[in-house]
Amino acid sequence: MKQTAQKFTKRVILTNEDGLHMRPATMIYECAAKFQSEVELEANGRVVGTHSVMELLLLAAIKGTVITVSAEGPDSEEAVNAVVDLICSEFPY
């Protein structure tokens, strides 16, 4: 069955105390890598891919930052939901 690429987007507020530091960035990178869709994060007008931790760290997102998570591909909704759930979970580790 042919699957069509669909774009899916959700907005979330970063609530963990120390912001999007390296451990959360690594967790997002690992989470997004499980999906076929290309996942992107946008914050403060900056858009980054999730294929590298270095990219994610460019957001330098502090607590309270609004982050838009979007994905395009056959599993875009699942990918966005997984990343949003992770951000909402405040990155337990």
Binding site: E17, D18, G19, L20, H21, M22, R23, T26, M27, Y29, S52, V53, M54, E55, L57, L58, L59, A60, A61, I62, K63, Y93
Partner: protein, 158 residues
């Protein structure tokens, strides 16, 4: 945030001897100690905090780069150093590759925004292939100082 705001030039290591993660961290923390940036009494504590952070997940973030770091209560101002290893360090990196450029960051516990800004600057510069390549080939403290200064002046990434 610029490198000059948190990198201690006196603690730069152009020829890292260590080939393992723990030894590399010890060598870099020792360099900060020798440069007067941390107290001798804090040496083992800082090393253990950095190693504990590594146990949560490697800070070897790919492209031959690692950014080991920790918060430490006795540090009043964020301080860091850079080490270059020609042979490479086994750092359990995300991409499985050995690490040749290491940035060590020690931050006060109550300044998460400063830490994020430092990570942003490090990432912004190191994602540029030319800067990364030049860093890997640095042969002296002066080479590293020059490269960091050029990066601070937006020569590699704007």
């Amino acid at each position: 945030m610029k490198f000059k705001d948190f990198i201690c030039n006196e603690a730069l290591i152009a020829d890292l001897k260590a080939t393992t993660k723990e030894d590399a961290i010890r060598e870099m923390v020792q360099a900060l100690l020798n440069a007067g940036q941390i107290a001798e009494a804090d040496y083992e504590g800082v090393v253990q905090f950095v190693l504990n952070r590594e146990s949560l997940g490697s800070t070897g973030i790919g492209r031959n780069v690692a950014v080991p770091h920790t918060k430490y209560q006795n540090v009043k101002k964020m301080v860091g150093t850079v080490a270059v290893s020609a042979a490479g360090v086994d750092f359990d990196s995300l991409d499985g590759q050995p690490v040749h450029v290491l940035f060590l960051l020690i931050s006060p516990p109550d300044q998460p925004q400063e830490h994020l800004s430092a990570l942003e600057h490090i990432s912004k510069q190191l994602r540029e292939g030319m800067f990364r390549s030049f860093m890997m080939q640095a042969k002296s403290q002066d080479d590293i100082i020059e490269l960091l200064s050029e990066a601070d002046n937006n020569q590699y990434a704007v």
